[in-house]
Structure formats: C-alpha cells, structure tokens
C-alpha cells in the first residue's frame, strides 16, 4: 500500500514537472540580439523606449519592435510594463508622432520575422514569450518582464 502511495506521489511529481513548460509559456521576456552590446535595461528605459523616446546604450540608439504576434502577448506587455490599455497606448504614441516626428515602434505580426529582425539588428529591442526564444542562440534574454 505504501509502495502504491509512493508511486502515485512520484507520478504526481512527474506530472507537475511536465506541466512546468506550460508555466514557462506564460513568461514574458525582454529580448535583444545575441550580438547586442546591451546587457540590461531598467523598467523606465523600457517604458521610454516603447513610448517613442530616445534611449541610447553604448552610443547606440535603441530601436523598439512591437510584438503583435498574439493579442494576449501585447496586452500583457502594455498592462504590466507600460501600464496602459491598448487604446491609450495607441493614442499616446500617435500623439508623440505628431509632437515631433518621433518614429513609432515598428509593428510585427509574424513571430518568426520579428525574431529574425531582432537577431540581425544589434540595436533592436523587443519582447516575447520565453518559450519562443529561450533556445534560439541568436537571441539574448535580458530579463523576465512578467510571469503568470
């Protein structure tokens, strides 16, 4: 009886371990190219960057890429990092564009294209689910922005 209980406990632990990747699916990370000189960006710098302001690191002007491959991904980023709803964010960056020709973040609806662009541009900064980039050697994860 005790052996059966241990077996069930082991099975439950294995099952839990197998579900861990599902939790990792819900981890939002900040990413740059593996070639990028950027080692870290704090929360204020990330907000400035995605609100169209100038952020310079080691002489490079960073370029924000907005990941719209999944609606939930962008919503999580805006709510937890930029602290705005999608509608407010959109109006805000449009206003910045009117206030002085600031370049708005480039928008990507295709995940593979976004990752390829990040990999090729050492000044590009974006965000993605950890599961989509953690095994890609061309991409450097700067930090976790949010997790479930």
């Amino acid at each position: 009886m005790k052996r059966i209980a241990v077996t069930w406990l082991f099975a439950a632990l294995v099952s839990a371990a197998l579900t861990m990747p599902a939790l990792a699916d819900e981890t939002l990370v900040l990413i740059v190219s593996a070639e990028s000189k950027v080692e870290q960006l704090d929360s204020l710098e990330v907000r400035k960057l995605f609100l169209g302001m100038t952020v310079v690191h080691n002489g490079d002007r960073l370029r924000p890429l907005l990941n719209e491959a999944e609606p939930r991904l962008k919503d999580v980023f805006l709510q937890n990092v930029v602290s705005m709803t999608d509608m407010t964010y959109d109006r805000r960056i449009l206003r910045l564009a009117l206030q002085g020709g600031r370049s708005l973040p480039a928008v990507y609806a295709d995940k593979a294209m976004l990752i390829n662009t990040i990999a090729a541009d050492p000044t590009a900064v974006s965000f993605a689910w950890a599961r989509d980039v953690q095994h890609d050697k061309r991409i450097k994860i700067l930090r976790v922005l949010w997790h479930d």
Binding site: L44, R47, K48, L51, M53, T54, V55, V56, R61, L65, M84, T85, M87, T88, D90, R91, R92, L94, R95, A97, L98, Q99, G100, G101, R102, S103, L104, P105, A106, V107, Y108, A109, D110, M113, L114, T117
Partner: protein, 366 residues
C-alpha cells in the same frame, strides 16, 4: 494652384512614399514614419448662416517624420476642401536624448491645447477646440505658427519626475483684416512678419507619463498695413504679451485639461492698451464599450470691450469669437483607430447666442 505649391506638394508626397516604402522594406508593416489623420463632420447651429471656419466637412492631416541618427525631419500638411497648408516643416538635431533644436515652421509652445493635439482631430476627444486655441485662419486671437528656431528638452527631476522646457523664437504672423497670416512656406509672403518669442516650462510627475502642468509665455510683435486694422486700433503696431498656466492631468479613466491665458494688448498709444482673459477646462471619462464622455466650459473676461478682439469678428455669418461656451459630448472608439463623436454646445459670441450640434467621424490611416 501656384507652380511652387505643385512642385513642393509632389516632392512632399514622394518623400512620404519613399519613406513608407523604405519602412515597409525594412519591417513587416511599419507605421512609424507616416500617418494620415482624417475626419468628416456634420454641423448644425442656430442663428448662423454658415458653419464656422473650424467646421469643414472633411479634413486630412498628413504627418511625416524621419529620424536618422540624431537628425530629424518632420512635416505636417493639412488639407480641407478650402485650404492646403504646410502647417509645419521642421528640421531637428537631438544634441542629447530628449533635447532637440528645431529649425523651420512650428506650433508655438505656449498653447496648452495645440501642442498636444496639433491638427489631428482623432487625437482630441472633443470635436471642437477651445476658441482661444483656434488657428490663425479660423480667426484665432493668438499667433500659433512661428518660423524660426525651437528648442525642446525634457530632463529628469527627482526619482520619477521631469521638467519640460520649450522655447521658440522667430518670425510670427502678420495681421490683416480679420485674421493673422503666418509665414507661408509654399507661397509668397508680403512681409510685415515680426519677432515672436514663446515658451513653456512644465513639470511632469512621471517622466514617461502623460500628465503635466506648467506656465506659458508669449511675446508677439505685430505690424499691420491694413487700413481697416489701423483704423480700428488707431495703431500700426501691436505687442501681445501672453501669460498662461495649464494643467493636463491623466489618470485612467479620467483626464482633465485646462488652461487660462491673460493677454495684454499694447498699442502705439499706451493710454489705449487693453487686456483680456480667456480660459477653459475640459473633463473626460472613459466608460465601458470604448465610450468616452466629455464636457468643457470656456469663459472669458473683458473680451467684449476689446477693440483688438473685435477685429477678428468679420461678420461672415459664422461665430468667430466666443465669450463663453459650454460643450458636452460622447465619443465612441468603435474600432481600432476610428471614432464617432457627437458634441452639443451653447455659445455666447460677441453678438449672438447659438446652440450647436456636431457629429464627427475621425480616423488614422494606416
């Protein structure tokens, strides 16, 4: 259409297309260097022969911006059935992040409303802009376009805040009968454009936030050769000194924007100097289903006694100068980057009262 305008329009459009194509080649669908703000409006007002100058049935505001390293180019072309003006054309250099020196034609920084919304109607929740913030060709009382140099800077203060400084100097508009005439970048300028100096200092509680409050200052030297103006003012020169304060407070779902201006009008004979006050406050609240309700109160003092203000009331059948206005409206952002807005208002002008209703569709393309 003058040839110079045609050539410049074509060059501008090519520049825009080149920019958009280049952006598309670099990125999947970049919308970052080219935007068009469009709007259509239906209007009815009691006691008026025709809609106001701010009430065209259609307008398009084409905005183009290009950033290359520390250099920036920015343009804004405003098109209505009655006009097509290159409202802004600025060439900038960013010395350090968030400090830019611009050369060209720009919107003077001492306007609380126009530096936020410019000509893009989609971005302002209400359909109308306050009367005191009107553009020159809408019988605006305060010069809004300067051609010269503009310095803008945002510097961090304390743990989270920032101070925003903007100062502009250059040639301001000339005064003709009934309206100001700023320097035209694509047509001839008969002259009489004199010095305009304007500025603002603002505090932002959050560096990246949308809330700010601050002080505004403007000094405009104005000459006129118009016999009508000289006769009315008994003066060939006017010096406007504008002192203002504003607040733009954003805390979702609320937004409050308000400003108050004291305008001193100095004439050749100092004994006849005049002054007036005009201000407004607008409150907005977001509601469920992407609805936003808004209300605005505009008020003034001593405007009805001012000969300077009376110059702008040109008896063309619409309301050019309002002493007071109460407006209430509802905006519905029914899909991404498109909105429907209804606004009702009661206006007290120099000579009459009017009830108005407006319905507007506004959008941004792409």
């Amino acid at each position: 259409m003058p040839n110079s305008f045609s050539r410049l329009s074509i060059a501008f459009v090519l520049l825009i297309l080149f920019s958009a194509n280049r952006a598309s080649a670099d990125h999947e669908h970049a919308s970052n260097e080219f935007e068009v703000f469009v709007a259509g409006e239906a209007y009815h007002g009691s006691g008026q022969v025709r809609p106001g100058d701010d009430d065209t049935w259609f307008d398009a505001d084409v905005v183009f911006g290009l950033t290359q390293h520390q250099f920036r180019v920015f343009g804004e072309l405003y098109i209505t059935p009655n006009e097509h003006d290159l409202e802004r054309l600025q060439f900038g250099y960013e010395f350090v992040p968030e400090t830019v020196l611009w050369l060209g034609r720009f919107h003077q920084p001492a306007s609380a409303w126009n530096t936020e919304h410019h000509h893009g109607r989609y971005l302002q929740t209400a359909i109308t802009r306050p009367f005191i913030e009107r553009w020159e060709d809408e019988e605006g009382l305060i010069p809004q376009h300067i051609t010269g140099a503009l310095l803008e800077s945002r510097r961090p203060v304390g743990a989270d805040g920032a101070v925003q400084l903007s100062g502009g100097a250059g040639a301001g508009p000339a005064l003709y009968s009934g309206e100001y005439d700023p320097i035209d970048l694509i047509d001839h300028n008969p002259g009489r454009h004199r010095l305009s100096v304007t500025g603002r200092v603002a505090y932002l509680p959050e560096y990246t936030g949308a809330s700010s409050f601050g002080l505004l200052y403007g000094h405009d030297q104005i000459s006129t050769g118009s016999p009508l103006v000289i006769s009315a003012l008994n003066s060939r020169h006017v010096v406007l000194s504008i002192y203002g304060a504003y607040v733009d407070w954003n805390s979702e779902p609320w937004r409050v924007i308000g400003a108050n201006y004291y305008v001193d009008v100095a004439l050749d004979q100092q004994a006849r100097d005049e002054s007036f006050i005009s201000g407004y406050v607008q409150a907005e609240r977001q509601l469920p289903y992407k609805l936003t309700v808004f209300g605005r109160i505009e008020d003034s003092a001593r405007m009805q006694e001012s000969t300077y203000v009376a110059l702008f009331d040109n008896h063309d059948g619409d309301i050019d100068v309002a002493l007071r206005r109460n407006a209430l409206g509802l905006r519905w952002d029914y899909v991404r980057r498109q909105a429907l807005t209804i606004e009702v208002s009661h206006v007290v002008s120099l000579k009459q009262r009017s009830d108005e209703i407006r319905l507007q569709w506004s959008a941004v393309v792409p």
